[in-house]
């Protein structure tokens, strides 16, 4: 893409792309050597976060 995402917005801007907060987010799914965390952005687009099993990026 080089191309596609929008410019970053100020963090307090209305309509920002924060992931929808869930009271009980689903547990990450295991897929091969990675764990998959499924989120939904405020505008409805999906966001998948992948972490190597055993690693802790967040």
């Amino acid at each position: 893409m080089s191309e596609n995402p929008p410019p970053a917005e100020p963090q307090d801007a209305p309509g920002g792309a924060a992931a929808r907060s869930e009271s009980q987010p689903p547990a990450p799914e295991r897929y091969g050597i990675v764990l998959v965390e499924r989120l939904v952005k405020d505008d409805g687009r999906s966001l998948l976060l992948y972490t190597r099993e055993g690693a802790n990026a967040r």
């Binding site: 893409m1 080089s2 191309e3 596609n4 995402p5 929008p6 410019p7 970053a8 917005e9 100020p10 963090q11 801007a13 920002g16 792309a17 924060a18 992931a19 897929y31 091969g32 050597i33 990675v34 998959v36 952005k41 687009r45 999906s46 966001l47 998948l48 976060l49 992948y50 972490t51 190597r52 690693a55 990026a57 967040r58």
Partner: protein, 304 residues
Amino acid sequence: MSELRFDELRGEQVVYAIHRQDRTFLPSRENCPLDPTRPGGPQTEIPVPAFEIAVFDNRFPAFEAPLGAAEVVVYTDSHDGSFATLAPERAEALMWVWRHRYEELGAREDIEYVMIFENRGVEVGVTLHHPHGQIYGYPFLPPIAERERAADERLGECAACAMLRSELADGRRVLFEDERVVAHIPYAARWAYEARVTLRAHRASLLDCDPHELRLLAEALQTLVRGYDALFARPFPYVMVVHQAPTGAKPPDGHLHVDFYPPLRTAEKLKYLAGSEQGAGTFIADTVPEESAGALREAIARAA
């Protein structure tokens, strides 16, 4: 929503995605939308302070449900670097991410073909420098995939398997190889430093690869890109495309290979698609693959 129009004379689809006209174009470093959202910093596409690999729906998609998909794959939360500078374990994880997306997108009824790719460098139109790639889910079988399928029928066997046998027997264009993966410049490469990374075994897609093959594939891709960067001692622009079996076919068949289409023919000169390429569909090359392979082998050795 994009519009598909079919050109009868050329026998091809054209995608009109006019909403992409306003997509982000070379934002400042501090406004990179692919960075993580750090405390006190700007909101980005990825609203967490750190991540390993992220995939999200493109905000300006060429395709979207119910007629395809367009996703962005961010390789790292570090703004700097490239696919080549990822830690080996991150590159290996990326193979699993690609596999996961191929499997999920390919399972959709509206998607006939899943193409994973990376555009690197402003020379090929990149407008965000953060290391990332993309995935398109096509609602039709695009021409290159159709040609590969036709080649299998023409040869009466897997064309990629046949070509790999031929390349290994000749050897002059082989860049490097290991027990599972071979990298070479194709006999009839279009681009001066075009390269193909192929699984030795017939693997229709990443889904058919075992974990060892995925690890070696990641290693081979990084070895090649590091060699590219060493070739002219500069970041080497390319289009990288993961060719896999069409997902609309039952059963899906093809032969996984990753192709690189670099536009540079020298350190400063670009190959342009001009009269013959656009008007006749015939590439005119200024170099021969055997000589390019020699230069690229030396660069790969320097980068090791």
